[in-house]
């Protein structure tokens, strides 16, 4: 029975994937893609990975979807070439077909081999969990065992925001705050904001013991910021370069600082002091949540300021 559900899920997954690539309308393609993200969240739950499910829903489907839709609105005016399934004679089609089929074939062959992992890393995780300062293994991995990965990953996020700011033209008019004029909505959202904020903080706090953590919390926070922006409150903060960039690097800076301190005491980089790991992890996660939320929000914000301008055409 379970297998049937799984198989159905896989079929839906593949069907949505094909649809998102090959429907005529780009808008519908994006919609199918977002839908795919939600189905993926279900799949992750079936895979016993609630953390990923949460992240997939919030980040994978949520943020990516919003960004794609947002971009789509700006791309309307471009010469939109429909998907070219009809161009069967083109060498490109055959190249694509052969590559796609080749990938499937090779991967299928590879994963059909019986597995006998030589190293049982998951045992090591559970053995060392008590020394990690948190009880949720994924948080322990992300912020303690493999915190170095996470450090670099945050740098990747900052970089992405940086590119966005690079491409913002200096001569562009500042963001016009096109907030929603409805006063009722305004008021509701104002009420909503602290709640969303609380949810975000809860996710962060919960991450120490159960699914959740800085990234999911950051994504929720970003949503809060977006709402905040849409109701037109204090977005001047984001216009100021110092606050903008300060917000981005806050988490990273905190991380580097906390990580470098042990170097002074003759400990390796990113080592937490004995028995206080939990506190430091929470501290870092707090910083990361704020920064991630801010970065995702400013990606959204910065993209607002480069509308398609016909006069730029060559």
């Amino acid at each position: 029975m379970n297998e049937l559900i799984d198989l159905t899920l896989v079929c839906i997954l593949l069907g949505l994937a094909s649809l998102s690539l090959f429907t005529q309308s780009l808008f519908r393609a994006v919609m199918f893609f977002i839908l795919l993200g939600l189905i993926l969240a279900l799949v992750w739950i079936r895979l016993d990975a609630p953390d990923i499910a949460l992240a997939e829903a919030a980040i994978g489907a949520g943020i990516t979807g919003i960004l794609l839709l947002d971009a789509l609105a700006h791309l309307r005016a471009t010469s939109n070439t429909p998907p070219q399934l009809r161009q069967l004679k083109q060498p490109r089609f055959w190249l694509a077909l052969i590559s796609g089929a080749g990938v499937i074939l090779l991967l299928a062959l590879a994963i059909s081999e019986p597995l006998a992992p030589a190293v049982a890393l998951d045992l090591q995780v559970s053995e060392n969990l008590t020394n990690s300062g948190v009880t949720h293994p994924i948080t322990a991995i992300l912020l303690n065992f493999r915190s170095y990965d996470t450090l670099l990953e945050v740098a990747v996020l900052v970089l992405a925001a940086l590119v966005a700011v690079t491409l913002r033209q200096s001569d562009e008019h500042p963001v016009v705050n096109e907030y929603l004029p409805n006063p009722l909505l305004h008021a509701c959202l104002k009420l909503f904001f602290p709640m969303i904020f609380l949810v975000s903080m809860y996710l962060l706090w919960a991450g120490a013991a159960q699914p959740g953590g800085a990234f999911q919390a950051g994504a929720v926070l970003a949503a809060a910021f977006v709402l905040f922006y849409l109701v037109g409150l204090k977005t001047q903060l984001a216009q100021n370069d110092i606050y903008l960039k300060g917000g981005w690097i806050f988490g990273l800076a905190l991380f580097v600082l906390v990580g470098s301190m042990p170097l002074l005491y003759g400990q390796p980089f990113l080592t937490y002091p004995d028995s206080q790991a939990g506190i430091f992890i929470l501290l870092i996660e707090l910083g990361l949540t704020l920064s991630i939320g801010w970065i995702l929000f400013s990606m959204f914000l910065l993209s607002q300021s480069s509308p398609l301008q016909k006069k730029d055409s060559p």
């Binding site: 030589a118 890393l121 090591q124 900052v158 491409l167 170097l263």
Partner: protein
């Protein structure tokens, strides 16, 4: 403080990135150069540490591999770290003078993130950590390409981004398969359990395709010339000299650590054929460009081909010859980093002098801006592989290795490639030697620009005399081939 020099390689550039984002213009510059000095010093300390205690590992967060991530300093990592320190410092100096203040402001953080990524890749011995490092590197590089913000560089950046993303995913697919098969991400531990089964071969295949795509190996190269040729000059230098080396470095690491030299020779042969095609195609295309920086960019394509020739020559049947190829490859990589950075900077100076991109506009420069032509020429000597230069020494070792293993086809390719490279470099020269009417109508680049280009070129020549200093850092061949 024993942990310091190694962690410094990551911490200092990270600090640089933070500082360049947070501080005002004057402090940004000041702190950046202070941190560059610190990094150079840090590298020197690390070298001393390596001399005194040899290869060593360090567990991040005090969690030893395979649970945690271990960084490793061995000869190879050290060579690449030193190489990036030298090239990056000089490029930064160049950029400081060359770029407009608005560009410079954006340049610094990208530059620092690039350096973080490079160092993290040189040091890492964890497959997934390498993936994150690669992504960081690619995004920083894409950002740098987009720095000039015109349509041409945007297209180049997009092309580059898509190639890089596809490459990363290929790599990650391989990592996924390897983890599922062996249950570990640590390269050291993997090498103890590794055997060349079907799924491992598929995994490595995906990883190599991804990495070679990021290295722009023929025929996955088409993104490189516009990106490297169209970027701002100091960026071109960084990209060509360092960034493409990172993914190649991972290929080399995997190949040697997983003892693929005992794999069926067809894999090595395939790498060699791709390399040969790159050498000939890159050289041929460079010969037919009309835009100076594109000549240099295509020359990078051809040079990547030389690096690929290491693989068919690494074999466990003849350890001596195999080791010669390894040493030769490292020398070539290093010489190319120095020479290509020097060449791009010199080319940037020449373009600055004329204000035009066309090769014809170079006429008369040899008379009025001899120092820049000289810098270009010295770098050219190493690129052509003529003695005395690091490029020649590398080529020599590879040829020796091929001869000892009777793989004459690579000798032939190398020689043809050398003649092609001589043809495209001297073609540039012959334009500069033309005498034209009208006197000195060229702009004069600042001495700092001229000397930074020249210093890199001179280093690539000096490497021809100091190769042993580099090669002594590498393990003897019994260790390389295990």
């Amino acid at each position: 403080m024993v942990h310091f020099p190694m962690a410094g390689l990551v911490v200092f550039p990270l600090l640089g990135a933070l500082v360049s984002l947070a501080l005002s213009q004057r402090w940004r510059t000041l702190m950046s150069f202070a941190l560059i000095l610190a990094l150079l010093l840090n590298n020197a300390l690390l070298l001393l540490q390596f001399y005194s205690q040899g290869m060593f590992n360090e567990a991040m967060g005090n969690w030893p591999a395979p649970l945690g991530i271990e960084l490793r300093i061995d000869g190879l990592a050290l060579i690449f770290s030193l190489m990036s320190a030298i090239v990056a410092s000089i490029c930064a100096l160049y950029a400081y003078v060359y770029l407009r203040p608005a560009q410079l402001k954006l340049f610094w953080p990208f530059f620092w993130f690039l350096w973080v990524a490079l160092n993290s890749i040189w040091l890492s011995s964890d497959l997934f950590n390498l993936y994150v490092g690669l992504e960081l590197l690619s995004l920083a590089a894409v950002g740098l390409v987009a720095l000039s913000r015109d349509a041409l560089s945007l297209a180049a950046a997009l092309r580059y981004l898509f190639a890089a993303l596809l490459g990363s995913i290929g790599y990650l697919l391989g990592v996924a398969l390897l983890y599922a098969t062996y249950g570990t991400l640590s390269l050291v531990e993997l090498s103890q359990h590794f055997s060349l089964t079907l799924s491992s071969s598929v995994a490595l295949g995906f990883m190599f395709i991804g990495l070679l795509m990021k290295t722009a190996v023929f025929p996955m190269h088409s993104w490189l010339p516009p990106a490297h040729g169209g970027a701002l000059t100091p960026v071109s230098a960084l990209l060509s000299a360092l960034v493409i080396k990172a993914s190649f470095y991972i290929v080399l690491r995997l190949w040697t650590e997983l003892s693929l030299d005992s794999a069926p020779t067809s894999a090595g042969l395939l790498m060699g054929i791709l390399g040969s095609a790159a050498i000939l195609w890159g050289g041929w295309m460079a010969l037919h460009q009309t835009h100076l920086k594109l000549v240099v960019a295509y020359s990078t394509l051809a040079q990547i081909g030389y690096f690929m020739l290491i693989f068919p020559l690494l074999s466990d049947t003849n350890p001596h010859a195999s080791h010669l190829a390894f040493q030769g490859g490292i020398l070539m990589l290093l010489a190319h980093a120095l020479a290509k950075a020097g060449m791009f900077l010199a080319a940037g100076n020449l373009l600055f002098c004329t204000g035009q991109k066309d090769l014809h506009s170079l006429a008369g420069l040899s008379r009025y801006r001899p120092l820049n032509i000289f810098a270009f020429g010295l770098a050219g000597v190493s690129i052509m592989g003529l003695p005395p230069s690091g490029g020649f020494n590398g080529k020599w070792l590879i040829i020796q290795s091929a001869m000892l293993q009777s793989q004459w086809q690579w000798v032939l390719v190398i020689l043809l490639g050398s003649l092609l490279s001589a043809a495209y470099i001297f073609r540039v020269f012959s334009y500069t030697y033309q005498e034209v009417e009208g006197g000195d109508r060229f702009k004069q680049p600042s001495p700092l620009l001229e000397w930074s280009a020249l210093s890199l070129s001179v280093l690539s020549i000096l490497l021809g005399f100091a190769s042993m200093l580099v090669l002594d850092l590498l393990p003897s061949h019994s260790v390389v081939t295990q």
